[in-house]
Amino acid sequence: MKRAVLALAGLGAVLAVWEGAPRLGWVSPSVLPPPSGLPLAFWRAYADGWLDAVRESLGQYLMGVGIGAGLGILLGFAVALSPRLEALLSGPMQVLRPVPALAWVPVGILWFGFTGPAVIFVVAIGVFGANAPAACGAVQAVDRELVEMAEAYGQGGRWSTAAKVLLPGAAAGILVGIRAGLAQGWLAVVGAGLAGIPGLGQRMEQAASGHAADAVLVYLITFMALFGLTDALWVLVRDRLSAWQR
């Protein structure tokens, strides 16, 4: 309770300083508009198609996350279970691992143009990069004695072991990879927008170019809210899957 009160007090102090700074002339409102002006800025953005942009970016994000996480977890699983595949992919992974996710934006534009699929591609690459090694490590870390136990009790078939031992045993590590991927995905959405691909990021970049600081803040807060929403969903799933640890 005391902690919650302190947290609220801290938030209130930040808002007060933020509101006061432009009003007292410490900074120009064109650089940092006061929070009291944001509702109006938000209304203008809404009238200008904010919701469509949210829908578009969220759809591209979810598609990219689904593809990237799905393929990453599948490949991570396969690599963890096949030393031959691990050896085969170790070379390409060493070469590709240092490439920052945002460096794939120009590649996405080159292959797909300034279109939604380019955003999906960049998001998927970033999410894949976070999920594949996490899933691989998590599966490799599952206690092999549990796998042997499953075999001793007639559950040692490939699919049975994967579904009943490896997947639940690796769930915590896979979830960590998914969370990192969710953050990477939003980074990719912003990066793709700044490069000019239509969506929330592009609108934010256009607002900055037009020195519309309040609109920049509206899109910044939008990204914060979307990231917070996806992260909160992740926490819900994590809590549900890890009930046995409490």
Partner: protein, 259 residues
């Protein structure tokens, strides 16, 4: 008693290394209780893994009576396995509740209701009926070992293989579980093959004790325990049998058998 398992000339080795256990032959009768004793690393756990089919022997065979006949077919239909291994560490799936861990070996064999009934019944047998809904981490070490035992009992094995299941337990818990194993052995009629390093435990439980020793290990003594059940640790006859077995082992060490 009729022979249930015929273990013939088993030789166990890791890769191309020299065998750890050679030419091991023994038969297990129905409703028998046999203990294997031997020093750490002699190959006791490897032997149980091979008997349980978790690892191949370099040579030899484990033959179950009626393995291919109608008995085996009936076993499979009724959710029974010929063998069940009780591990040294409980190896419970931490993300499954106790009841789901006990039902594990019945999945894909019995329907959910039958699995549930069977699991509840064996949890009652091991004294954990009230713990069915708990997570493994909420149990004591002794309770986890009881769940390990219940999971094996749930598949109604004809032979139960126990790999030093009490070695990590405190004395009181260990003695409670030893009494449980004896009771369950008599109630269920399953044959039991128990590996232990504890001479007193072997004399308390077994009808006969096989002593493994030498390099590669082999059976160097077949020691029948002639005491009637229930055995009293405090009795003079019990102490005499323990001493006789200890002396036998000491003689073997002195003779260079490398127990």
């Amino acid at each position: 008693m009729a022979t249930l398992v015929d273990i013939r000339n088993l030789t166990i080795a890791y890769g191309s290394a020299p065998p750890v256990l050679a030419d091991f032959s023994v038969t297990l009768a129905e409703r028998s209780l046999t203990c294997i004793v031997g020093r750490s690393g002699v190959g006791k756990t490897s032997l149980l893994r091979v008997i349980a089919g978790l690892a191949p022997p370099r040579s030899g065979a484990v033959v179950m009576a009626g393995a291919d006949g109608p008995v085996a077919a009936a076993d499979a239909v009724h959710g029974c396995r010929p063998l069940a291994l009780v591990f040294q560490q409980p190896r419970l799936l931490p993300w499954r509740r106790v009841i789901d861990n006990v039902m594990f070996g019945l999945e894909g064999v019995l329907g959910h209701d039958d699995r549930l009934r069977r699991a509840q019944s064996v949890l009652t047998q091991v004294g954990l009926a009230d713990h069915a809904g708990r997570w493994p981490h909420q149990l004591s070490r002794g309770q986890c070992q009881r769940v390990n035992l219940a999971r094996a009992l749930a598949v109604r094995p004809r032979v139960m293989l126990l790999d030093e299941p009490f070695s990590a337990l405190d004395t009181v818990t260990r003695q409670g579980l030893q009494a449980d194993v004896l009771r369950l052995w008599r109630e269920t009629g399953t044959a039991v093959l128990l590996v232990t390093q504890d001479i007193e435990e072997a004399v308390l439980l077994a009808e006969r004790v096989l002593v493994l020793g030498g390099r590669p290990a082999r059976v160097i003594r077949n020691f029948p325990v002639t005491l009637p059940y229930p055995r009293q640790r405090e009795s003079h006859r019990f102490a005499t049998q323990v001493k006789t077995l200890r002396d036998t082992l000491a003689e073997l060490v002195a003779d260079g058998e490398g127990i």
